[in-house]
């Protein structure tokens, strides 16, 4: 299938600002789905609230646009009740890790089979540029006129510590790499987290002198390096890109099937 067959073309052009990174994330994701030759009827995309969350309206899958921060909780209900479905859960940074932080760590702990995509632009875009738990210190935002003093999370470390069995990071500058990582994440049996750095020129960029969209993307190239590369080794202040965790651990829905088996045997005795 052509990649445009995976989108609801009547809703284009999309509502994201010119230069927003979220469209590139959508592109990478659709190419992953296309290359894996997934059936549209087998995919459920669950999103929360915010600029990122509108992504679910654009894809021709079963789509569930939920409430702020709860996309993973809804997705858990969908997946456990029908484990044969493929769950894609794109979230904004505030969505995933402020209001949704609890669900994030618990979904990782359970190792329920879904792909969480953190579209990290370090800002609350839709509500007009307030700082997020991924903004980090020294950032200007509408709610941080004197700059932030809040530390940020390292999504990769957090996901790994909480028990996610696949953890990766990339940026919208590296769209093809993102597609590869997403393919791996979707195919991985368990809770997968892919953080994709995505620019918000409208709010983050303007306030923090990040330049235009192209400059912000260029910056992603400059501040990251592949996992295992010499560059990264020599410059530990750079952010790693690539796969950080990929391991096997019993998956939640499969474990639950075993519970059913045991319970049914007990009941028939």
């Amino acid at each position: 299938m052509a990649v445009q067959d995976y989108i609801r073309q009547r809703f284009f052009p999309h509502m994201w600002c010119p230069g927003c990174g979220h469209g590139i994330v959508l592109n990478s994701l659709l190419r992953a789905v296309e290359q894996l030759e997934l059936d549209k009827n087998d995919i459920v995309m669950t999103s929360g609230i915010g600029c990122s969350a509108r992504i679910s309206g654009y894809v021709d899958f079963h789509s569930l646009h939920t409430i702020h921060g709860r996309a993973l909780a809804f997705a858990t209900g969908v997946k456990l009740s029908k484990p044969e479905l493929t769950l894609l859960v794109p979230m904004g940074d505030g969505d995933a890790l402020a209001i949704g932080g609890n669900h994030f760590i618990h979904a990782a702990r359970r190792n329920i089979d879904m792909t969480a995509i953190v579209m990290n632009n370090r800002i609350y875009g839709m509500t007009g540029g307030q700082f997020s738990p991924l903004s980090g210190c020294g950032i200007k935002a509408t709610t941080a006129p004197y700059t932030t003093i809040d530390n940020d999370f390292n999504v990769v470390d957090l996901a790994a510590a909480a028990g996610a069995t696949f953890v990766a990071r990339s940026t919208v500058y590296h769209a093809k790499e993102s597609t590869e990582l997403l393919k791996n994440a979707i195919q991985h049996k368990g809770f997968s987290v892919v953080e994709i750095l995505s620019q918000c020129p409208t709010h983050f960029g303007r306030k923090n002198k990040g330049g235009d969209a192209a400059a912000m993307m260029e910056n992603y190239k400059n501040i990251t390096a592949p996992v295992g590369s010499k560059t990264l080794e020599e410059n530990p202040e750079l952010l790693g890109r690539g796969i950080f965790v990929q391991k096997e651990r019993p998956e939640y829905c499969q474990e639950y099937d075993k519970i059913i088996e045991v319970a049914m045997k007990g009941a028939s005795k």
């Binding site: 809703f11 459920v44 079963h62 569930l64 809804f74 639950y256």
Partner: protein, 382 residues
């Protein structure tokens, strides 16, 4: 199959009702005094091939059952006081996106952490207005275990009929008290399955296009129709729209589908109402005391009757007006500061004749509590 007789807690009667109705997905977070619903279902659901999940909080539980309902399952969660507060945003989502689900709230004393192991009926208004915005809701209640069983089945039937969350308002005394429950053979009580679309694959399916009878045929997630579900105002395909016409029509539809069917939704029982001069209006465990007192005083020749409400929302104003029209006084018996009393006052022609017999101290209201107030109203002193 024969009817089964059991000696159970009210919370277990609720579980039996849910299983009879066909629940096959439960998500919850433990909270007193509702925990037995989760405990028993964690054992019974997998025995029947269903799923139980203990989520990280009450919010996640509510979200998870909505997700599971969309794949075509009959779903429920159970909670008490603070947990009910946490669920409200997602309950609003289920109202807006028209997703069938059942929420049992075994009430405890509030506000806040309140009185966890004590009885209260303080969440009547929260069941109606806990979530933001205008909307309709269905809330049922029960005063004995047979009725808990039946109202739980009804809750599922109404949820599937009207594509809406239904709240089961039990209380601590009912939840924890033990009494006899007779479970009818399968098939004896009619069950409602959600209406599924007959639109074939490839043909335009509009999940939010009501049929002439107001029902919306659903398609399961994972099925042949891919559509969008959102908590935003949406068009008949489920896609966000802020068009004034869409917003206006959707909100009216959400409210009307419940309000227009109030007669089909209303459930009540009456005791000695025909010639009653004094009518006790009550529900849940306080109705037991009201019924006890009425029986007792009837034997002494006093014309006392009871109207027991089994559905609280939509509030049956017409029913209450009609039943109470000839009474000298109407006494609402409840364990709060008069939440149902306010509705009864709004129903009757003369609100001056409506009184409240209540307790708010975590103790059950007894027949003598009610009698004391009645004596004052009757002008007979204490």
């Amino acid at each position: 199959m024969e009817n089964k007789i059991k000696f159970v807690q009210g919370n277990e009667a609720c579980v039996e009702g849910a299983l009879y109705a066909g629940v096959d997905f439960y998500a919850g977070y433990p909270i007193t005094p509702s925990t037995e619903i989760a405990e028993v279902l964690s054992q019974r659901l997998p025995q029947a091939g269903g799923k139980f999940i203990q989520m990280e909080d009450e919010i996640a539980s509510m979200c998870a059952i909505i997700g599971a309902s969309l794949t075509g399952h009959k779903v429920m969660t159970a909670t008490s006081g603070p947990g009910f507060s946490l669920k409200q945003e997602a309950i609003g989502y289920a109202c807006m996106a028209e997703i069938p689900c059942v929420i049992a709230n075994v009430q405890r004393g509030g506000p806040s952490t309140g009185n966890p192991t004590h009885v209260s009926q303080g969440d009547i208004n929260q069941a109606r207005w806990g979530t933001h915005g205008d909307h309709a809701i269905i809330a049922l209640t029960a005063s004995n275990h047979q009725d808990v069983f039946e109202m739980t089945i009804d809750a599922f039937n109404l949820a599937e009929t009207y594509r809406t969350p239904v709240i089961l308002l039990l209380d601590e005394a009912i939840g924890h008290m033990r009494e006899k429950l007779e479970i009818p053979a399968a098939g004896e009580i009619e069950l409602v399955e959600r209406l599924r679309t007959s639109v074939p694959k490839g043909v335009d399916y509009r999940p939010y296009l009501p049929r002439e009878d107001g029902r919306l045929p659903m398609s399961d997630f994972g099925g042949e129709h891919r559509y969008n579900v959102t908590g935003l105002y949406h068009d008949m395909w489920g896609f966000p729209s802020a068009s004034p016409q869409v917003v206006n029509e959707l909100l009216r539809h959400l409210v009307d589908k419940i309000d227009i069917n109030i007669e089909k939704i209303t459930r009540y029982k009456e005791y000695f109402l025909d010639d009653a001069e004094y009518i006790l209006v009550s529900y849940g465990s306080s109705a037991r005391s009201a019924i006890h007192l009425a029986k007792n005083r009837r034997e002494k020749g006093e014309k006392i009757g009871v109207l027991e409400l089994q559905s609280i929302w939509p509030f049956p104003h017409d029913l209450v007006r009609e039943k109470c029209s000839r009474a000298k006084s109407v006494v609402v018996v409840e364990m709060n500061l008069g939440q149902v009393m306010a509705q009864v006052k709004a129903s009757v022609d003369n609100p001056e004749k409506v009184f409240l017999a209540n307790r708010i101290d975590g103790k059950l209201i007894t027949p003598s509590d009610i009698k004391r107030l009645l004596r004052v109203i009757q002008g007979r002193g204490i």
